[in-house]
């Protein structure tokens, strides 16, 4: 614990917030991109520490959440095959498809296994030559190097009974999609730290300059997030828009080059559907032609599955920062982590699941009303103090 305190220091936190108050002249809407950041913000109540008028909305950076229902149904169809051992990261097992989840399939006799590392699948495939071993390769850029290594080694070692069901997504195209939507509210981003540990952050620079938005690559500890928020507001208030790195103790502009090299040998970029958002052009990785013999989508004759999301679910608007979880009529009643209706409730890193876990069942107006009643409440500035500044 000896190193922890300086990143939890309440005095430092209040200095950062005071500086935000000092420089802020108008309301700003910022989006944290990464699900880990969302989790940290909600758990630590960071959004409640911010000056009135600085709003954090929650981005699409939860890979389990944005894996499309069609792909989950496809995974389930494959996992039900008698001769298949279906391997997955633990988080995907309880994500419901149109008909149950992987746990259900396992309980009905399907051979579904949780793996820690994609390389575990190599061992499983070699040990079970009479079975077809399929790995559900999901994730953002952070996970891509691990999944790429699995495909690479499977081909190098001739492990022909191993394939990958790939549903990889990429952060920069999603940010561009959010910014180009006519409904967009986001004026600055806290960029995803661990994604950029792999990819670096040069690919965010064209987005920042094209859409004139600050992007500050940020860690996920409370002071990281406060600091990243301050750096973003500083840019906005000064009329600047560039990419800055709050998380320089972990990453640099170029990222991890050996990892990027292998990813580019194994995967190619193509269109990808995101749960709750829809298809975003050039926003995902697919296996290159050279790895066709390890591509589960080509190996398994799974017909296109048309799936419908519940109409009541607003996760698409939440993932784009247009709405918050408690704007949804189903939140916490029809839709809970035990019975999720949509993307943002299916994983603990989703915004709805985080709000549910940390008791954010009230909308901000009700919460403010409670603050007014509570002793010491009402210290936050009210919207009226902003005059008619309006949104940018």
């Amino acid at each position: 614990m000896k190193y922890l305190d300086e990143y939890r220091d309440g005095e430092v936190a209040s200095k950062i917030v005071s500086e935000m108050r000092r420089i802020q002249t108008r309301p700003w809407v910022l989006m944290e991109v990464c699900g880990g950041q969302t989790h940290s913000i909600v758990k630590n109540g960071i959004d409640h520490l911010l000056p009135e008028g600085v709003e954090l909305v929650h981005g699409p950076g939860c890979p389990v959440c944005v894996t499309p229902l069609e792909m989950i149904d496809k995974a389930h169809a494959i996992a039900r095959c008698q001769d298949v051992i279906f391997c997955s990261f633990g988080d995907m097992l309880r994500v419901p498809g149109s008909d149950g989840d992987l746990f259900t399939i396992k309980s009905l006799g399907g051979d579904v296994r949780i793996v820690y590392s994609p390389l575990d699948c190599l061992k499983i495939a070699k040990g079970n030559p009479d079975k077809r071993v399929v790995f559900f390769a999901i994730g953002f850029e952070t996970t891509a190097p691990a999944n790429a290594m699995l495909a690479w080694r499977a081909r190098e070692e001739g492990v022909n009974n191993l394939s990958l069901l790939v549903s990889h997504v990429l952060v920069p195209p999603a940010l561009a999609a959010i910014l180009s939507s006519p409904e967009n509210r986001v004026q600055g981003f806290l960029g995803p730290g661990h994604v950029c540990a792999v990819m670096g952050y040069s690919e965010y620079e064209p987005i920042s300059s094209r859409y004139k938005v600050p992007i500050v690559i940020t860690g996920f500890e409370p002071l990281d997030i406060l600091h990243g928020t301050l750096m973003t507001i500083q840019q906005l208030e000064e009329g600047r828009a560039c990419v800055e790195n709050q998380y320089s103790r972990v990453l640099n502009r170029t990222g991890n080059l050996p990892a990027q090299r292998l990813v580019s040998k194994v995967f190619e970029v193509g269109d990808r559907k995101w749960r709750g958002i829809g298809t975003i052009p050039m926003s995902g990785y697919h296996l290159c032609e050279e790895f066709a013999q390890h591509d589960a989508e080509r190996l398994f004759e799974v017909a296109e599955i048309a799936t419908l999301e519940p109409e009541i679910c607003i996760s698409g608007q939440i993932l784009r920062g247009i709405k918050k979880p408690h704007d949804c009529p189903a939140f916490g009643s029809l839709c809970t982590p035990q019975h999720p209706l949509g993307a943002t409730m299916v994983s603990a890193e989703g915004a709805c699941a985080a709000y549910y876990a940390y008791g954010r069942h009230l909308n901000p107006q009700s919460a403010d009303a409670l603050l007014q009643i509570a002793p010491g409440g009402g210290a936050r500035r009210t919207g009226k103090e902003w005059g008619d500044a309006g949104a940018a």
Binding site: P258, A259, L262
Partner: protein
């Protein structure tokens, strides 16, 4: 699962040409692949995501990040079952 977990490299070894390590996360030791941070030595700290080190970090950063992840309940992937290498079962009809 978008976050990487810091750990200390306690042993390195070769596994069929892959540069691998045993990495200590708190009280748990798991294998991790060091192919993406090939300069890493025993005693150093790395950020590990799904069994792959993606970045080298210093001890202070490692400790801070580990504690933060623990508070966020983001360490559960370390408890995933360990998959042992097993020999393929012998085929009575021989290899074909």
């Amino acid at each position: 699962m978008c976050l990487a977990i810091p750990g200390k490299v306690v042993e390195t070894f070769d596994q069929r040409g892959l540069y691998m390590a045993k990495v200590q996360f708190g009280g748990i030791i798991r294998e991790a692949c060091l192919e993406y941070v090939p300069e890493t030595q025993v005693g150093e700290y790395v950020l590990v995501h799904v069994g792959f080190a993606i970045s080298r970090i210093d001890e202070a950063e490692a400790e801070r990040t580990y504690q933060a992840l623990r508070e966020l309940d983001q360490l559960s992937e370390l408890e995933s079952p360990v998959v042992e290498e097993i020999e393929p079962p012998p085929r009575p009809w021989g290899r074909g």
